[in-house]
Symmetry: C3
Subunit: 211 residues, 3 copies
């Protein structure tokens, strides 16, 4: 059991807490619905990455500890719901750490498939954000990555920075920590100062082409 | 041609009738739209399971009889629409039987990949419900499994029970029939007595964390 | 570098322009959102086809030129937005050509997996329309293929015609061009004369079965 494995299992549990809390945001789902959404949020990103890479077996299919971690997360979300809502600031920090970790570990995994660094960075970003995208699609919401754009852009920037570090330094652990920290900082600063990317077009739009 | 194969082909046709009838519920789609939705409803669950397992080729890609069965289902749905609507009680029983069958056969297939029983049960449940989830996502609805929760929970319970039976008895056919019957009974009773799972939280909710 | 490869790369760029213009139709997304949607629109159809076939590695994962083409498309969409909107008629012709090309090349690829021609035609149609379906699902719209039905039906007819030609003539290039032309003509005529497929049911509908 490596440190990385333990972090992945813990990160999965955090994602399921996050998914469960988000699921209760819009509706009052029952236990099954919350667990299903927590599950998809947790394993969605890594599953999309692995299916796109053709990397089988998927982590949670091979190793039931991911399932246990998700269930534990759901139970914690239920037992400590009020506390977690109050601790949302603290929880947000953990959530951002989780996203940073999933991005960099996903990028590293993609690189091991000998693909172009740009594609690997996209795969890393997908690892972190696609669970949330699937959750939003299932609950009939516009995915948050289209609204809080710095969220996914921070992942992409961090992934590209990791690939750069990886090409100039062999200190893998340090590369991972620095890149994760970059994602963390970009997201925290962008939220603190309410920064966002420029809109694609700012002038009044004419009717675009149909397709 | 085994009995199981024939049941699978017939079950696929039933799912496409069910998908076609559900598709006409919300809008007035044309023939292509209804066929597309019937198709996705029929093959969605098994395809999601096989893609997650990395089990290639997918059933309907390998064997065109699944396509013929789906098209037959769409034609029947069109020709006998009024009758099928009137027979909705009877049709509901067939639909529940189909769901029960897909769950248990999906669980059995997943077990053959030497994965943990809990993961196999999830795969079995996915086989039965993911077609409907994809149908609802495509038609911009909140998936019914989040509303009529006993639907998917019954599949999960039946799948776990099948795995238990499989570990204590070698009579495969009897195990399949008993587990299918359990899913059938749970769903029928839960609808007859309007049973549902407890809500995740019943007290008034405060604003949950954003993610 | 074959002609086919160059056409595929150019077609991918056209799809990303088309996706970017469609993305700005409903909301005012930022650069990340538009790029993400353009990306999914471009690579979605081919990725769905390849994942269903189990054909790895996916084109854009193996070859970064697809990514460059997508990014170029997004930049062009931004720089020449007003012109492109004014040229919508011309652009529509290119878009239809792209759809026709993706359908036939997708069908040909699927045939190389030794699957039934009917399944191969479905795969060809998926290659052309699934990018748009994923785009619509992500932006919380009812997929256009359920509204402008001749769009996907034209692809299916062209794919089946290609398979017929392929079985009677060995002149591959001519077969491709004729089949693409058929898709092109069906779509143009159906839009010019506002043709659509018959509705699945025209009489007043009773309440259909629940599922």
């Amino acid at each position: 059991m490596t440190v990385q494995y333990i972090l992945e299992i813990i990160g999965t549990g955090f994602f399921s807490i996050s998914g469960a809390l988000a699921a209760t945001d819009k509706s009052k789902p029952d236990w099954f619905g919350v667990t299903f959404i927590g599950f998809i949020t947790s394993i969605g990103g890594g599953s999309v990455r692995d299916i796109l890479l053709g990397s089988y077996p998927l982590g949670w299919v091979r190793d039931v500890n991911f399932i246990y971690s998700i269930i534990t997360g759901i139970v914690i979300a239920s037992l400590f719901f009020k506390v977690l809502i109050k601790l949302r600031r603290t929880f947000f920090l953990f959530d951002t750490l989780g996203i940073a970790m999933f991005t960099i570990l996903g990028t590293e995994k993609a690189l091991s498939f000998n693909i172009h660094p740009l594609v690997a960075a996209i795969m890393g970003m997908f690892s972190a954000v696609m669970g949330g995208v699937l959750r939003d699609v299932l609950t009939n919401e516009i995915p948050v990555i289209f609204k809080k754009e710095v969220y996914a852009t921070a992942c992409l920037v961090g992934a590209l920075f990791y690939i750069f570090l990886d090409s100039v330094s062999e200190n893998r652990n340090l590369n991972i920590i620095i890149s994760m920290f970059l994602i963390f900082i970009i997201r925290i600063i962008s939220i603190k100062y309410n920064l966002s990317l420029p809109k694609f077009r700012t002038e009044d739009q004419e009717e675009p082409v149909n397709k």
